[in-house]
Symmetry: none
Subunit: 531 residues, 2 copies
Amino acid sequence: MSDRLYLFDTTLRDGAQTQGVDFSVADKEAIASALDMIGIDYIEGGWPGANPTDDAFFQKPPRLASATLVAFGMTRRPGRSAENDPGLAPILSSKAGAACLVGKSWDFHVDVALEIEREENVAMIRDSIALAKERKGLAMYDAEHFFDGFKANKAFALDCVTAAYEAGARWIVLCDTNGGTLPDEIERIVAEVTAHVPGSHLGIHAHNDTENAVANSLAAVRAGVRQVQGTINGLGERCGNANIMALIPSLVLKMGMDCGVSKDRLKDLTGLSRLLDERLNRQPNRHQAYVGDAAFAHKGGLHVSAVAKDPRTYEHIDPALVGNRRHIVVSDQAGRSNVVAMLNEIGVELEEPALRRLLERVKEQEFKGYAYDGAEASFELLARRTLGEVPDYFDLIRFRVIDERRRNAIGNLVTESEATVMVEVAGEQAMRVANGNGPVNALDTALRDALKGRYPDLEAMHLIDYKVRIMPPAADGTGTDAVTRVTIESRDEAGARWTTVGVSANIIDASVMALYDAYAYRLFRAGARGA
Amino acid sequence: MSDRLYLFDTTLRDGAQTQGVDFSVADKEAIASALDMIGIDYIEGGWPGANPTDDAFFQKPPRLASATLVAFGMTRRPGRSAENDPGLAPILSSKAGAACLVGKSWDFHVDVALEIEREENVAMIRDSIALAKERKGLAMYDAEHFFDGFKANKAFALDCVTAAYEAGARWIVLCDTNGGTLPDEIERIVAEVTAHVPGSHLGIHAHNDTENAVANSLAAVRAGVRQVQGTINGLGERCGNANIMALIPSLVLKMGMDCGVSKDRLKDLTGLSRLLDERLNRQPNRHQAYVGDAAFAHKGGLHVSAVAKDPRTYEHIDPALVGNRRHIVVSDQAGRSNVVAMLNEIGVELEEPALRRLLERVKEQEFKGYAYDGAEASFELLARRTLGEVPDYFDLIRFRVIDERRRNAIGNLVTESEATVMVEVAGEQAMRVANGNGPVNALDTALRDALKGRYPDLEAMHLIDYKVRIMPPAADGTGTDAVTRVTIESRDEAGARWTTVGVSANIIDASVMALYDAYAYRLFRAGARGA
């Protein structure tokens, strides 16, 4: 038996069950590719036949370097052959490399939810797994509610998993579907199961309903399972699934497990965590284990001085191992070391008094509602402006946007946006007007039309994302009204991406500020001279 | 030895170390009182002498029904007697009922951070605990970095804790200060320690740096400790402390422990969790175990139909036990059973063929980019419109919004938004114009101005949140262009909140749709007649 541990990510399937989560096909492709790059063994992409997004994803799956793409589905229906089951067909004919079929293993569910004979449930598992193995080569069985089932009726639960094993399942995944099992129970039950199915064919699928999903997964590994399922950032319905961002570093760095994610790939974990939050337009959890922004933040004075002597005094691992970094959070000093670390990252060297000027500027901007985490291009511009390196490329003297809903010539209601801008560039004023499918699109088109003569570099860039966040007024009444923060992501023809930010009480104004920085960053990178 | 388990909350001390957390004295009083009410045994209120807030809190501590208020501090400095230590004095003279003193137990820290003789460290613990016991009656020792210390130098770590025990400490709290220890190590080490100090005098203080703080605490309890420390919602620096919101229900409901929080008080846990978030002006974590808003939310269609038959099929406990409740979520993952359950929740009875029409309508809308999970008011309107229950309150014939940046009379750049609307209500057309600090604000003001004569109910409602998401075009080219989804949350004077959604290629158009539903929902609830 190999002692290799296999990682199985279900962000795109079980994670997609989360309230408020709605992946597009492009999201799925980007996330699958990132999981593949980091060395995840199995990527569950969705459920062919369940919805148009999953159908489209499996029709043209992304090319993966080493991971196996898995299609999820259910075992056949009662009273029907696996070959003639319309639910199974799209899974077995999909372009995925493996099929993972869920079935019941708790007698209560068979009796109450399915309302069928228990023997028929075992037959459904056996037939479906055998057919999936025949058609796909690699079949897995998700034993739903296995731990509840084992506690209620051990013999029946074991019948279900041994049926799958004997039918040729490469993996039998023990699911704590309701998430209510505690780690010591998981460890004890898994140990009992290994007497029936070898651990090298067992997996664990844990949910976080008691905040023990990670501990339950580790307990199962200690008891012998060799496949671990989870999701990026613990995404998943109710309280989420086991968080692979926490599982992988503990498995590799602390338990010394041999798995597809090698030690040197761990440094991509923090980036993978952020990728998911960006795709979902979510605020990252600062306090997330290993990869959170605050996971290695030190606030208390005694902690900070000890960390300065030796980081091991208050850090359980070197943050660089997982691609994270230390933050020192002590009034002025804190801001400073943070800003210096960010400057190092973008390769800007700043000395006094410019550094102090930049620090003050960052503080002012943050007070206004700016956040430079995730808007590195705007931060770099701020830093380089402090050094006088960034010219004023143009002056937006005024603009006007009109959004109008009216009936068109054939009587349909249409909404159109029209932007008029007046810019001054190289001493000359230019006025342009453009239509767009929204106010920001219209402004972007009009501005670039006005600027392209002087700055041809702006032609080949595109806005690819636009995010809005309302920052509520401070509860203690110190701030003023709510402000709007707009973040814009841009891309050039070579695939480079950069993110800029604008803040104002007015969403259009904030958008214009973020657009201005988006152009300025592109022009600075291209080495354009100022006007 | 009693088998009673004692709960120790350190939200107001260790939780206050969290970046961005800054309790006022009033916050501390409110939180301490709530912890007392629920039956927590020890409430650590802060560190007298460390800052003015903690001084003020301990000068006039809140009256507690059953909990003991604990003052935190450090063992005496090296080379000084405990009696003459200026750091210890404010703790020992405070009005708290007990003192908890932290000291080193890891030789590496004694050598590197303190740079003192190891014998002196043991003497510091012994002297300080003896004096605290004499002055306060009840003394505790927080053994900082105990687990790292035990692994590095077992004899020295044990010397530190036995010195505290022999000096009269009621509790010796084993701290996993850096949070890097895994549950199996915790269990093994605690079991070894119980050979030197009885478990009835041992506590556990875990941090969440590997996402195992809850599991580590439970493992320590299994190994014999009888005091558990943690914070509300897992507040704490870096990745947080052990979360008592997850610990308490597992200890009481699953492990059957006898502790100060009786089974019937558990139902106040969800409220306690929200209280902290309100005090900190934070968005509650929807996915938090037991108490999160989504902890008992069901989205998948099969799950929803099984829960309708028996909630135990997909719920590990009855949500009412912890003061939480079930939510049914609508989505494209779901199908008929989900929509039906959602209808039940809002009290709408729909039969065929109306149900089929609604299902088709939901699918069409989702294909356009709508998402109803998180926009329940728009879903309810959709359902009730299928039944013909919702009148057309008004017709927005056309609108125009102008956003303009220009110089004002004193030469400053200002950006203003102006909206013009024409509505038809009760057979009459009305045109209004309004300014706003953004296009949506201007539209909202103009629309309500045009409608308030006919619908006075619209006057007392307010928009409280506005979210934007760009849905990119499908990668397979099946969709059309990107669309924008706008979600608006509204509130009325009685505090009711509702969320509506609009989707369009144009952000302003999408906003208008979400606004329309926001008004319609308010009017429907108020029983307004249509125009």
